[in-house]
Every structure is written in structure tokens, then in C-alpha cells.
Symmetry: C2
Subunit: 250 residues, 2 copies
DNA sequence: AGGTTGTGTCCAGTATAACGGACAAACATC
DNA sequence: GATGTTTGTCCGTTATACTGGACACAACCT
């Protein structure tokens, strides 16, 4: 008789576990981890204990739940320090948030999703900021319009999952409209979106391009939707300038 | 016949691999990884490919070497966001580096070693800063004197490995002298060390304590050794104040 | 040219990691 | 206080992840 359950590799379990924690973004009970990843309880305890020992995970809330441990922070810092673009972008993003007083970010693609790599909150009382490493549909973002501007229209249609054109509130972005915005953003050297994922925010983004002109990442500001046109125009110039300098620096 | 080689678990291999990359702090060739972790080449390729797929690792330098990938950064950010003390310390460290213009850090223990958790460079032309997550002997640091001040002298002797009292340049810190400095730091509410790991820098540190008075972490400044006594005194007050506020905030 | 060293892939065998199921103890819920 | 749920640990079994060795190819050196 063949078993319906597959005997999974430890590595795959670990990857699944950390991925699930990243999704939940909050400490999780071990039992729940087992259920969510469909791991036998005996196995989960074995693995989690090993990961806690290595400080990849940490027991929380009086030992009831687990979440990421300090080792992840150390490894993550090593990653940030090892990528030239990110190292310089870190200084830029800090400088922009500082000078302009609004939330500044470095954004990029992870597969066919948009992702925030760096986020530096501005000086506002009620800060607007995003979670790092959370995948978001490309059409929901200003940066997304720049990040696919090396693709031909048909390639974009193929690249972006159809469901991703549906916004959180149920509205759907027409694909043709999106393609037009991509072309316009490429032409203008920046992108702007307003009230897309929520009703209150506007995103302004400028590209960072490699030698071949491909958009590797974007720098952007996240500002309240009621920001005056003049201020937005100034910010766009600041972003374009910063993006251009980082593009030259390769 | 019993084999001398042990068949290792995938998980343990992965932990070893990332730990090695963290030690080297630079992209590493796969062959070297295999040698350093004593992993069979067929196994290393299998594992590394899986980790690259999960974006835990990334191929670098035209595919010749591997290093940490973006997933580590995402997980690390989740960790930072999940720890109250670190979240508030991040704002403090940024504020201090900003206001005073010198490199500010949050430091803590990892087992019986000192470790830098957060590092925010100051405004100097030649920046003094440390690598995050690198283990350093406790006696080499100002913060170390505060981080063990809940231990009795005998406990400190037992806790700190004897070799750790030897400095990089060969000098040895007398254990009795160290114990006296620990007591003095506890009394004074701050610690200062000068020209310990190198000849040019002075470290100033203040404790962050939990409700029971135990030092959980320290905030500190790293400054040139020739900084005037007056300036140092001012900085110490700033640090003590900041540490006190974070202690109250639990 | 030949020799040495490193890289990446493939395959068959077996040591063992992952599994299922059972257990007591700790918590909830009614 | 009776009943259900969750937690953490233990153990014998077996599917397979890890292994060693072989292979072709590239990049070096003498």
C-alpha cells in the first residue's frame, strides 16, 4: 500500500516554516506551525528546537510561541552590506527621508511581485510606512510601472498575473490603461499613483537603471494624497536626481 | 565496518553553511563551502541550489560564488520589528547618531560573547563602525563591563572564557582589574574603555535594564580616542538619559 | 604537450531522518 | 468534575536524503 503523505526533507520544512512566519508576521504557536505547514508534530518539535538552538528562531511570550531570532538579523545585515546598490541606496533613502521629511523607500521585484527593500519613515506624526519583504502585486504600485518598463506590452501581460490587476477594494485596473501608464512612466522618468491600495496615499517613484537601461529598482516617496502639486513636483525632481546618480554609480 | 564519517542532517548542513558565510562576511565559492563545512560536493550542490531557489542565498560575481540572499533581509527585518526593545532602540540610536554626530550602537550578549545589534554611523569623514552580529570577547568592550554586572565575581570568572582576556595586540587584561571595572561601571551607571581593540577609539556605554535591574543591552557611542573630556562627559549624560528612558519603557 | 586543480552533474546503496502513533500532563469549556 | 483540546516527549519502523565515487569539461600551471 502506498502512502498518501510524502516524507518531506528537513530543509524544505525549514524553508516552509520561515516562509510561514514571514507571512504571518507575528509569533506563532508551534501547534499552529505544524498544522499550517502540514508537518507531523514530532517533526516540528525536532526542527523548531534545532532552529531555536541556532537562534534562527526564538521562543516568545513566556515560551508559548516562536518567531524569528537574532541570527536572521545578522544574516540579513550581511546581505545588505554585500550589495553595492543597496549599500548606497541606504544612505540615499535616509538622506531623502531626512531632507524631505516624508517616508522614503527602495523598491524592487521579487519574481513577478513588487517588494519593499528599504523603508525610512518621515517626520510626520502619523507615519506612513510599509513592511519590508512583503510581496505586493505590481499594478498596485507606482514603482511597479517602472520596474516592468523593459518588457514589451505582450511580455507584461504574460509576466503579471491577471488577478494582480484587481485592487484590494475590488476595483480592477484595465490592462491597457496599465500598459499606457508604464510607457508614460518610462517616457517621463518617474511614476505616480494615487489612492490605489488605500484612499489616503500617493506614491512617487524614480528608476535606478543599469548600463543597459533596465530598471533594477526604484526610489520613492510615500506621501498623503492631499500633498500639493508643487510639493510633489519638487519631490519628483529630487527622486529623479537621486535615481540618476545611483544609476551612474552602477 | 563502521564509517568514520557521519551522515549529517540537511538542516545541520544549512545552519553550518550560513554560519560560515557569516564568519567570512564575503561571497564564497561553492567548492570552498564544501571544504570548510566538510560537506560532500554532491550534497553541497543539492543544498545550495535549493537555498538559491528560496532566495536564502544568491549567486554572485558571474555565478562563481554564493552569499546571503534577500530572504535573509526580510526575515531579519521581521525580527527587528518583533522585539519591543529593539524597535525603540532603533529610533534612539538613529536620534543619538544624528544629534551627536558620532557612531551610536545597541549592543547585547550572544551566549558569552558581546555582539553589536544596531549600528548607526555618525557624521565623520572617516566613519568608525562595526559589523552587526559579529561575536567579540566581552572584556574587549565597554558594554561588556555592564552586560555582566549582574554576575558575582566568581560567576564572571566562570562565564567569560579565559582566552577572551587577551587583546588583539597580545596584551592581557588582568581578571581582577576587569572585575573592578565591572563594579565601577555598575556604580557609575556607565562604562568607558579606550584603545582596547585598536589604538584610536574610545567606547562610551550606558545600560538598558529590565525591572529586576539586569542589564539587557547597552547603548553606546564609538568616538576617536582624542575626544575631549568635556565632550565625553556630555555624551555620557546623553547615553545615561537615553538608557534610563528605555529601561523604564521595559 | 602533459599535469594539477576546480566545477558541475549523475547514479546506486544504505545509514538515518522523518514519520505515525501513543502517552501523560496541562489547559479550556461547559 | 467531566469532557474535549493542546502541549511536549518518546520510540520502533521505513522511505529516502545524503553519500561516495565516477564522469566530462574547463582553467589553470609548468
Amino acid at each position: 500500500m502506498t502512502h498518501t503523505t510524502v516524507r518531506a526533507r528537513g530543509i524544505d520544512r525549514v524553508i516552509e516554516i520561515l516562509d510561514y512566519l514571514h507571512d504571518r508576521r507575528t509569533p506563532v504557536r508551534i501547534g499552529e506551525l505544524a498544522r499550517a505547514t502540514r508537518t507531523p508534530r514530532s517533526t516540528i518539535y525536532e526542527i523548531v528546537n534545532r532552529l531555536v538552538e541556532a537562534r534562527w528562531l526564538e521562543l516568545r511570550d513566556g515560551e508559548g510561541t516562536v518567531f524569528f531570532g537574532p541570527a536572521m538579523h545578522y544574516y540579513g545585515s550581511n546581505y545588505l552590506d554585500s550589495v553595492d546598490l543597496i549599500r548606497t541606496a541606504r544612505l540615499e533613502v535616509t538622506r531623502l527621508a531626512e531632507q524631505v521629511g516624508e517616508t522614503a523607500q527602495l523598491c524592487s521585484l521579487d519574481g513577478n511581485k513588487y517588494i519593499v527593500m528599504l523603508n525610512e519613515p518621515g517626520r510626520r506624526m502619523f507615519r506612513i510606512s510599509s513592511d519590508i519583504g512583503v510581496k505586493v502585486p505590481i499594478p498596485w504600485t507606482a514603482s511597479g510601472r517602472l520596474l516592468v518598463d523593459h518588457l514589451k506590452p505582450d511580455e507584461v501581460r504574460e509576466f503579471v498575473p491577471p488577478d494582480d490587476f484587481r485592487l484590494p477594494d475590488g476595483r480592477t485596473i484595465p490592462v491597457d490603461g496599465f500598459l499606457a501608464e508604464v510607457a508614460a512612466a518610462r517616457e517621463a522618468g518617474f511614476a505616480r499613483t494615487s489612492a490605489l491600495v488605500d484612499r489616503f496615499t500617493t506614491c512617487l517613484a524614480a528608476p535606478i537603471r543599469d548600463a543597459s537601461g533596465r530598471c533594477l529598482a526604484t526610489i520613492c516617496f510615500v506621501v498623503p494624497a492631499d500633498t500639493t502639486a508643487e510639493l510633489q513636483a519638487e519631490m519628483i525632481e529630487v527622486l529623479k536626481d537621486s535615481g540618476r546618480r545611483m544609476s551612474i554609480a552602477l
